[in-house]
């Protein structure tokens, strides 16, 4: 995006820095390279065949969804503590990315589960807790669009954001704490060396993608907030 499209900075809000066009380029190239590496270097799994490739999206998406939830948690706590709306906007940006990555994790897990387990879905503790995670974060985004008053919106969504993020350790540990159909966490240490680097590289690529998306959405949220404030002023008839 170029600087000409931006609204001029007002007295109260600082200018929003333009975003480097490098981020999307790096993120998408890293993702394409990591996926290509995974597809070209790994042999088909002994039991699953080429279904194993789903791991290169499902697992990195899940890890980075968890990280995005950590940002939601941090932003929410810091907002309640400092009452600085930038933390609220950061939490909201991370929540959008967390919602997308959680949905992606569930969708690909389901596609993998049908041929492997024999079912698209089952209510085991891992799947159920992940579904709850998705519902909470979608609820968070819905809540934001329903509440108009910015301060109240920030406070309420911070509470929901914290609640959602507290579910993350439960989701992660569910496969150890309870009996599940889902296998324990797949880590580079539990997979054949032939798959470990594909997993690591895709995790890094998804991390870059996640950071880019959070930054871009944070920037958009800041611009939206500025406009919201300008509209407010106009409605009140102030200059």
């Amino acid at each position: 995006m170029t600087q000409t499209t931006e609204s001029p900075p007002t007295r109260e809000t600082p200018a929003v820095a333009p975003m480097s066009a490098l981020w999307p380029v790096i993120a998408l190239l890293a993702l394409a390279a990591a996926q290509a590496f995974g597809f070209l270097t790994s042999p088909p799994d002994r039991d699953m065949g080429h279904l194993q490739k789903i791991m290169y999206v499902h697992v990195p998406a899940a890890w980075n969804a968890f990280l995005a939830f950590v940002v939601v948690f941090g932003g929410s706590i810091l907002y309640l503590w400092k009452r600085d709306e930038r933390w609220d906007l950061l939490a909201a940006a991370a929540a959008e990315v967390a919602a997308v990555l959680t949905a992606l994790t569930i969708a690909l897990g389901s596609i993998w589960g049908r041929p492997t387990w024999g079912v698209w879905w089952t209510w085991d503790p891992r799947l159920t807790s992940t579904a709850i995670l998705l519902v909470i974060i979608v609820g968070y985004l819905a809540l934001r669009s329903f509440v108009d008053e910015p301060e109240r919106r920030a406070r309420w969504s911070a509470a929901v954001g914290i609640l959602g993020a507290l579910n993350v350790p439960i989701v992660y540990m569910s496969v150890r704490w309870w009996r599940t159909l889902h296998q324990p966490q797949s880590l580079p240490s539990t997979v054949d060396p032939a798959y470990a680097w594909g997993l690591r590289l895709n995790a890094i690529a998804f991390l870059v993608l996640m950071i880019w998306l959070v930054r871009a959405r944070y920037r958009a949220a800041t611009l939206e907030r500025m406009r919201e404030r300008a509209d407010e002023r106009e409605a009140l008839g102030r200059p």
Binding site: R46, G118, D192
Partner: protein, 150 residues
């Protein structure tokens, strides 16, 4: 609300959330969240085991699988080492179903002792292994059409 009141409110909310979390982790809920029973637990249930919807999980007892492709009829036993339960299913098993693999079945346990299954699910481990020298990777799409099951 005063700042003080709001702080107190947040503190109470935080305490409730953390309390719930701690209860989930260390409390009794973990024991009630049982996704499936093992054959041993099914046996320990006595009369309460029969004719109620259940999930049963364990290993497919090696050598116990009887698969009739014409009648689409599957019989096998699920074992946990200590006990084993006969399972009957009238549906094709998932492609990865085989001797010795972990499974979870849904259905009801009937007298005198057959688990009538409506759904057979294969539990995959978190170990991903490349085929060893000479082994062929599973071509699941093809094997489904040629010989479902064993």
């Amino acid at each position: 609300m005063s700042t003080r009141g709001r702080r107190a409110g947040i503190a109470v909310a935080a305490a409730v959330i953390l309390g719930t979390f701690a209860y989930l982790v260390y409390g009794g809920i973990g024991e009630n969240l049982v996704y499936f029973l093992t054959p041993q637990e099914l046996a320990a249930r006595g009369d309460r085991a029969y004719d109620v919807p259940l999930r049963l999980g364990g290993q497919v007892e090696p050598g116990s699988v009887v698969w009739n492709a014409q009648a689409v009829d599957l019989k096998f036993r699920i074992t946990d080492g200590a006990h084993s339960v006969a399972v009957h299913s009238s549906g094709a098993p998932p492609q990865m179903f085989r001797d010795g693999i972990g499974v979870v079945v849904e259905g009801r346990y009937h007298r005198p002792g057959v688990f009538e299954s409506t759904s057979v699910m294969v539990k995959h481990s978190n170990e991903y292994r490349a085929p060893k020298e000479g082994e062929k990777p599973a071509e699941m799409y093809r094997s489904l059409q040629t010989d479902a099951g064993t």
